[in-house]
Amino acid sequence: MPVYYYIFLSATLFTIGVIGVLVRRSAIIVFMCIELMLNAANLLLVAFSKMHSQAIGATHPTAATDAQIFVFFSMVVAAAEVSVGLAIIVLMYRNVHSVDVNFLNRLKN
């Protein structure tokens, strides 16, 4: 399968994520969209890794799967982020009884 399929899919996912962050007001949805962007990037990493694995694998056998391992890193980070992020959202709900991101703009003054 040509690699641009993956690129298009990833770009679409990323754009959906960006637009979601921009237009949605619910903190949870925004959060999910961020995850979506992260995974779009992960998808690209895996795709490119597979694409280059043969060429690189000939000279550097261990380097061929570096990018895929890197995806695990970002997944772990994403998991950590989820735990922190959800905790923040829970706290936010406790304080203002809403998960609307635009509601919480008190830094302004």
Binding site: L22, V23, L104, N105, R106, L107, K108
Partner: protein, 632 residues
């Protein structure tokens, strides 16, 4: 080191000691002790000066180097004293007249508190110290130290009674005008250093030939600017009449006999430079003569006894500069000496009068004092005759020498000079007649207390009167007596080089007799005229009109200076303070601050607190970066 150099430094040092003792111990010393210290140190200096003078007379001249004042690779200025004919003559005048005036002061200032009395003598001693430094200095820098030092003492003594704010203003005026001259002096010194690398007299005079005539002209003109400040010539003369605010002995010592002649000393000292700058000499002659006439006209209409004498001093100094300008250096120095005698005498006599009248200085309220103060009267009369130039009194010889030299330079100078001399005779005898002849016009109270002054006052008067009468005899012109001009012979080594350049042109004997006769006759007529006019003077409050009013107001020179110089300078200061400083410079600085403030206020609006906005901006930012990266 020669014997004379071992004691030369003591001459200024003793007055300095007197200054320190009187100045630091002014709260402890009694009046008699501070008087003795003050006068005693000057007497000792005088005796040493006599010794030095005698040894110089035997041809014993030296430059003494005491220590390095400034010694860097690029500039070397030693603390040097030059002991020669010219300086030793001035030493005698300064310490001699100075001593008499100190003695006089012990009585004149006796009403002061012990503290002020000691302070007065401290200042006076400091003055003598500075003046001696000025005269003894072996280079222009040491001279300048004394030069500014005497200015300082003059400032301190004019403002001695500092409760009166007018006196303080007069003191300030004197100092500032002197400083204007000093700037000229300093620039001349810098010029010398730049061109010759030294300020030592002997090196400078030996290397004059290395200077271009432009350099010499500029240097001498700048030095002359210095002299106009110190010696009260046009345009810087207006401080001297105001300086009469000081105690009268101070006027006698500083503002008549010694300090104001510093300019003449300086030019006589640098005579070789001036001789090589004919342009400067012309300027000096013209300014000197103009000052002599201007001051004489003002003196005609003054009513304050000290003001008349002050303008007379300015006028006489003008004559000395005329002498310097026409190359009659000996004549100028001679006139300095005789002037020191008779002008100190006149001032001290005026002081005696003022003392007797308890501070009254207005001649319109005097008169008839002849009866009450015989010694003062006689000595004063002798002084008046001397200054009027009647032979064989001292003023005749010295003034005549200057006028004769002026004639041989340009007869026009002589004509104007004689005119001034006639005016001198007139205003001096106006002064004399109004003060001593006629009837007393003061209050009964004053008349009741009129008395001759005590011995400490009359003693200096007598000595000075004797000197004023016979002082001229050391400079008898050749026409009267061959070899009679002892002073010229004595000063010959100083002016030798200048003489060589100038050459000698003798007037014929008949011309000289004619010149003398003309000035003597003119002065005599003026004396009789003054006597006739003022012997029955009545006090009237009528205001003067026309030219008399202009003269009474001193040609309005002070007012002109005030509106042309002082006010504009103050206005400029105000403009800088309020407009440039606050408006422009601070405006720019504060403007930068305000711009930053305003800018941040505007940019702050972007921080809306809406997460969405931030993200949107971020996305836009990334898109722009993409575009730049991919397409540019």
């Amino acid at each position: 080191m020669n014997n004379i150099l071992h004691i030369a430094w003591l001459i200024p040092f003793l007055p300095l000691v007197g200054f320190l003792v009187n100045g630091l111990g002014r709260n402890q010393l009694s009046k008699s002790i501070s008087g003795i210290i003050g006068s005693g140190t000057i007497l000792a200096s005088f005796l040493l000066s006599v010794y030095v003078f005698l040894s110089v007379k035997d041809g014993n001249t030296h430059v003494a180097h005491y220590f390095d004042f400034i010694n860097t690779g690029a500039l070397k200025i030693g603390f040097d004293f030059q002991v020669d004919q010219l300086s030793s003559l001035f030493l005698l005048i300064i310490t001699g007249v100075g001593f008499l005036i100190h003695v006089y002061s012990t009585s004149y200032m006796h009403d002061e508190t012990p503290n002020n009395f000691a302070k007065y003598f401290a200042y006076l001693n400091l003055f003598v110290f500075s003046m001696l430094l000025l005269v003894l200095g072996g280079n222009y820098v040491i001279m300048f130290i004394g030069w500014e030092g005497v200015g300082l003492c003059s400032y301190l003594l004019i403002g001695f009674w500092f409760k009166n704010d007018n006196y303080n203003s007069a003191a300030k005026k004197a100092f500032v005008m002197n400083r204007i001259g000093d700037l000229g002096f300093l620039l001349a010194v810098f010029w010398l250093i730049t061109k010759l690398g030294t300020t030592d007299y002997h090196t400078v005079f030996q290397n004059v030939s290395q200077l271009t005539s432009f350099d010499i002209t500029c240097i001498t003109l700048l030095l002359f600017v210095g002299a106009t400040g110190k010696s009260a010539q046009i345009p810087l003369y207006t401080w001297l009449p105001d300086a009469m605010a000081g105690p009268t002995p101070v006027s006698a010592l500083i503002h008549a006999a010694t300090m104001v002649t510093a300019g003449i000393y300086m030019i006589a000292r640098s005579n070789i430079l001036f001789t090589m700058a004919p342009t400067t000499q012309t300027v000096i002659a013209i300014i000197g003569l103009a000052t002599a006439i201007l001051a004489a006209t003002i003196a005609l209409k003054q009513n304050d006894i000290k003001k008349v004498l002050a303008y007379s001093t300015v006028s006489q100094l003008g004559y000395m500069f005329l002498g310097l300008g026409v190359g009659a250096y000996t004549g100028a120095v001679f006139h300095v000496m005789t002037h020191a005698f008779f002008k100190a005498l006149l001032f001290l006599g005026a002081g005696s009068v003022i003392h007797a009248l308890h501070g009254e200085q207005d001649m319109r309220k005097m008169g008839g004092l002849k009866k009450y103060m015989s010694i003062t009267h006689i000595t004063f009369l002798l002084g008046c005759i001397a200054i009027a130039g009647i032979p064989p009194f001292s003023g005749f010889f010295s003034k005549d020498e200057i006028l004769a030299a002026a004639f041989s330079s340009n007869p026009v100078l002589w004509v104007i000079g004689v005119l001034g001399a006639v005016m001198t005779a007139f205003y001096m005898f106006r002064l004399y007649t109004m003060t001593f002849l006629g009837n007393f016009r003061g209050t009964d109270e004053q008349q009741h207390h009129l008395h001759e002054s005590p011995g400490a006052i009359t003693f200096p008067l007598i000595i000075l009167a004797v000197l004023a009468v016979i002082g001229g005899l050391i400079g008898i012109p050749e026409v009267f007596m061959h070899g009679g001009h002892r002073l010229e012979a004595f000063l010959e080594p100083i002016f030798r080089e200048s003489k060589k350049i100038q050459g000698t042109h003798h007037l014929s004997h008949s011309t000289e007799y004619f010149l003398m006769a003309a000035s003597v006759v003119g002065a005599s007529i003026a004396i009789i005229f003054a006597w006739k006019n003022y012997k029955d003077y009545r006090y009237s409050t009528e205001e003067n009109t026309g030219i008399a009013r202009v003269l009474e107001n001193k040609w309005y020179v002070d007012e002109i200076y005030s509106s042309v110089i002082v006010q504009p300078v103050r206005a400029l200061g105000g403009f800088f303070t309020n407009v440039v400083e606050r408006g422009i410079i601070d405006g720019i600085v504060n403007g930068v601050g305000r711009a930053v403030n305003y800018g941040s206020r505007q940019i702050r609006l972007l921080q809306s607190g809406q997460v969405g906005t931030y993200v949107l901006l971020m996305v836009f930012g990334i898109l722009i970066l993409f575009v730049i990266q991919l397409f540019l």
